[in-house]
């Protein structure tokens, strides 16, 4: 039976769950993210700073999605708008539309008052585009599309529903670029399990990450796989850069959000770094071409 897309509960993390992590105040994130406020793994090359590595990542995403010079581009999970800005200011995109479930992210982008950059407080499940998109990107959002404990079959079903909608929204020949954390194959240890419990119960509630095969399986008959990279080491480097900045301005952060909150984010950055470094997590960069 087909679910009515307007009445069915959207899959994955709720707005409250998203808000619990992202809505502590943009001023706090400004203290330790790069100036573009990009909150996902960068793409590093020798000599990069955090900011140049983040811009390199955004440019890679734009290029892989075929968004350079495109008219309309969708960013599913647009964060504080760094990709939307890069698309319109550097890549000649006429209309960049971002979806987010975070009110502080929505407010920041809406405050720019730029007709080229549109933000919607919408779940992808609720999105109905005004016109087809020439390219779609989704960076660091897929991790919130299913809840922890969801069966493999249901995860694939939800990813497939997302991909199916993306394909419908794309103009013929369009591409989708996805960057997402994935599970790694390192053997589980008691410490890794305790860390996973912290991440999925306290840091990102109602979220889970895919196995690479789950995402690839969901593409069948919808998208051809053009390229797939696993850059776990790039996330280690990104987390190191974030944590160095967080600790350098710790007192400032404590004044902004309180000592408990700073410790919570510090523990998250340390825990995540270990997960990527030890092979419990990977970083997928996936380029897909609609069929």
């Amino acid at each position: 039976m087909a679910l009515d897309q307007h009445t069915a509960e959207p899959p994955g993390a709720s707005r409250d769950a998203i808000g619990s992590h992202y809505d502590v105040g943009v001023g706090f994130f400004e203290q330790w993210l790069d100036p573009t406020l990009t909150y996902s793994s960068a793409l590093w090359e020798a000599g990069d700073t955090l900011e140049t590595a983040q811009l390199r990542k955004l440019d890679y995403a734009a290029s892989e999605a075929g968004a350079v010079g495109a008219r309309r581009v969708l960013d599913v999970g647009c964060g504080w708008g760094s990709m939307l800005t890069r698309l319109v200011e550097e890549h000649g995109v006429e209309a960049a539309v971002g979806l987010t479930l975070s009110e502080t992210q929505r407010d920041r982008i809406a405050g720019w008052d730029d007709p080229r950059r549109e933000v919607r407080l919408e779940h992808w499940h609720e999105h109905e585009p005004d016109a087809p998109y020439d390219a779609i990107v989704s960076i660091g959002a897929l991790e919130h599309f299913v809840r922890h404990g969801t069966s493999r079959a249901d995860k694939v079903r939800t990813y497939r529903e997302f991909l199916s909608r993306c394909r419908r929204w794309l103009a013929p020949g369009g591409r989708l670029y996805v960057q997402a954390i994935c599970k790694g194959n390192a053997r589980l240890t008691a410490k890794a399990l305790a860390d996973a419990r912290f991440v999925f119960e306290e840091v990102f509630p109602q979220s889970d990450v895919p196995w690479p095969a789950e995402l690839v399986q969901a593409t069948e008959w919808l998208f051809d796989l053009v390229r797939l990279r696993n850059d776990a080491d790039h996330y280690v480097q990104t987390l190191d850069a974030w944590r160095e900045r967080l600790l350098a301005r710790r007192e400032e952060g404590e004044r902004e959000v309180g000592a408990g909150a700073v410790e919570h984010y510090d523990r998250y950055l340390r825990t995540a770094r270990e997960h990527f470094a030890e092979g419990h997590a990977g970083l997928l960069r996936v380029t897909l071409a609609a069929v």
Binding site: H148, G149, R187, L188, A190, L193
Partner: protein, 79 residues
């Protein structure tokens, strides 16, 4: 060949429930649903680790997919 007996499975479930501060129902049996005991997916991962320790065997994580009941734990295969 099964490396986990039903008795070991039951004992391990009781131990993990106790460690997770969950109520240990007196009538846990092979057909008891893990979910009905309040065990989530992370608790089931904990069960998996404990069973590896108890049996001194590296178990195949792919054989843990679809675990529903206490009795299903007996079906976990060595890697």
């Amino acid at each position: 060949m099964a490396v986990i007996s039903e008795e070991v499975a039951l004992d391990t479930v009781r131990r993990v429930l106790g460690a997770r501060h969950k109520e240990v129902a007196p009538d846990i049996a092979a057909d008891t649903q893990l979910e009905s005991l309040g065990l989530d997916s992370l608790d089931i991962a904990e069960l998996f680790l404990q069973l590896e320790n108890v049996t001194s065997t590296e178990l195949d994580p792919s054989s843990a997919e679809g675990l529903k009941t206490v009795g299903d734990l007996v079906e976990l295969r060595p890697l």
